[in-house]
């Protein structure tokens, strides 16, 4: 029993954090929101170059040959930077599911961009910038995408019609694509939450009221500590779910649901607390916090919300 990441896993995640600090600061996220694309091809090619996008493809197919345990800290780092575009869908589902199909090579190389359409929603995130849409049992190309006005400018929402279908199995090592995304989203939500807490802590250290930094007031301290508590205690379950998924454990679905439920609730609580710490500034378009909050609000409801996943856990635990 050993519950820790290897040095290699840690170093890769740290490398990604550094890359994103340089290539995906808040200003880039904001630009992608405001230019209406919801995606940055330049950032995409950096992620591809580092091997992030192909982490879950076999080495034989030109990928990094990693497992979900290798990828989980990367999902978290992507969330910490609120990376826009279909990076989770591409990385966690399209690449591993389609690696050995004719779609595989360009996806693994990052030359083709994929997103995912799950059955529980009429909308397809990122369809406007995707070359292919993965569904449970087929792939769509040459489809029409109509803007559905999503809240998160880094995860634009579309309705999709038409398209050419190619049969293909979107399962990822025995996982339904919905579950693979629930797992990836859980880690991404944790990363988002970590960064929201950092942003709010930075603000609380400098913003003064009543002649003191607001971070010196217990009310602020306790709001922030309680958010951190929820985020910290969502981590181990999420890493465990990655291990279960990597090893094809019987408990994979239960473990993923537990992770997504806890991460969704932690991210929501964090968004509320960090916004409250910001006061009026947190309610503005200009404050960077909104870029993280809206991503959290979108993702916490996608691929099953906390209620859906809690009840899947109930099904295993209370039966």
């Amino acid at each position: 029993m050993k519950f820790s990441f290897t040095d290699d896993q840690r170093l890769f995640a740290e490398g990604l954090r550094e890359l994103l600090a340089n290539e995906c600061p808040a200003s880039v996220v904001r630009e992608v929101w405001e230019n209406g694309t919801g995606h940055s091809p330049e950032l995409w090619s950096h992620l591809s170059g580092m091997g992030v996008l192909s982490m879950l493809a076999p080495e034989s197919a030109g990928g990094m040959g990693g497992s979900f345990v290798d990828a989980i800290l990367l999902f978290q780092e992507l969330g910490r930077a609120a990376v826009p575009g279909p990076v989770l869908e591409h990385m966690a589902v399209a690449v591993p599911a389609l690696a050995s199909t004719r779609f595989g090579a360009p996806l693994i190389a990052g030359d083709s961009v994929a997103t995912l359409w799950v059955d529980d929603s009429p909308y397809v995130a990122h369809a406007g910038v995707a070359d292919v849409i993965v569904r449970k049992d087929h792939v769509l190309e040459s489809f029409d995408a109509t803007d559905a006005h999503g809240m998160d400018g880094g995860r634009r929402l579309f309705t999709v019609t038409g398209g050419d279908r190619t049969n293909a199995d979107a399962n990822v090592g025995g996982l339904d694509p919905f579950d693979a995304m629930a797992l990836a989203s859980a880690a991404y939500l944790i990363g988002l939450s970590e960064r929201m807490i950092e942003i709010a802590a930075e603000y609380a250290r400098v913003r003064e009221q009543f002649g003191k930094p607001i971070g010196s007031f217990q009310a602020v301290k306790h709001l922030m500590s309680d958010a951190l508590l929820k985020v910290e205690f969502a981590k181990a379950p999420t890493y465990r779910a990655a291990f279960s998924a990597s090893t094809g454990a019987d408990t994979s679905v239960r473990d993923i649901s537990m992770a997504k439920a806890l991460a969704s609730e932690a991210a929501y609580r964090t968004s509320r607390s960090t916004m409250q710490v910001h006061g009026g500034i947190g309610y503005t378009w200009e404050a960077d916090l909104q870029l993280w909050m809206k991503k959290a609000w979108a993702l916490m409801r996608s691929y099953g919300d906390a209620n859906f996943h809690r009840r899947r856990v109930s099904g295993f635990v209370l039966a």
Binding site: S121, M151, A219, G280, T284, Q290, R301, S302, N307
Partner: protein, 382 residues
Amino acid sequence: MDLRETADEIAFRLEARTWLEANVPSEPLPSFDTAEGFALHRQWEKKLYDGRWSAVSWPEQYGGRGADYIKWLIFEEEYYRAGAPGRVNQNGIFLLGPTIMEVGTDAQKEKFLPTMASSEIVWGQAWSEPNAGSDLAGIKSKALRDGDDWILNGQKIWASRAVWADWCFGIFRTDPEAERHRGLTFILCPLNLPGITVRPIAQLDGDTGFAEIFFDDVRVPVENTLGEVDKGWGVAMATAGFERGVSLRSPARFSEAVNRLVALWQRLGDKSDTALADAVTDVWMQAEGYRLHTYQTVTGMLEGRPIGAEASLNKIFWSEMDVRIHEIALQIIGPEAERMEGPLERWVDGFLFSLSGPIYAGTNEIQRNIIADRVLQLPKGM
């Protein structure tokens, strides 16, 4: 105690209902935070005024009906029931107006109240400053006396409606030696004067419901002082107390919202989910509790018992309830709650708007301090 409406109250309710049914626009107006929407809302206010419904609790001489608070609550219930437009001149009619009636001169009453009731003049408010938010007494904007004028300099922020409004009201430091809440004066100021720059602030939803106002040697006559010079804090607190206490969020708003929530649940909610039913019932009870609590408060006011720091309890209660109502709605709505447009967008807009509640008009953290210090008599901590 008699919680049944009197014959007079029932008649008033029916009169309001009849008028509203005949006059409320059949389609919702565009947001009053747009040029077009603002103009349409101003027209609507004029129509209300013409029917003597714009300020029912004001004396008849200023365009009201002299309705007591109970009738005001009844009117609000009918207003929300009818799905009538938001009140673009709320800052004026519900905040500034009662303050003018309390501390204004006769000349000020004559000058400001009728145009306020008719929304010929729409008012923005200008309390906060970049470094005076929760700590409102930290205000730095100055008014210097020069002959018969004030010369205003400084910067206000979170000024609601100020982008399109005609006038604003706020407090300015008139005694530069005085500290904190002393030496402040309450001043009324047109927004079209030379030296004023209004910079809209985009909100979470992208709309511009509030603004920054920059004052650069803006000259206003001293007649525009409301109340005594250097005593503006007391005037502002009377306004803010009323804001938090009753008028800012009348119970009808939440009763209407929970009724819509119940309808949403009936249409889209999973009926076998008792947790969801519990959540809906909880906020229904909260809205009903808030309504009852308000009727109790208002009866007390009519019987001569003033409201005090309890206003802070109200503010926490309604703002947290409003967030909760919208959280539950978005949970029922599911993936559709990610969309900013569509048939359910009102709930998404409402959610974003609700998040401002625990912050503005004094954060809920500040309100909790006020309750602890003034109601529970705990020792001051700051």
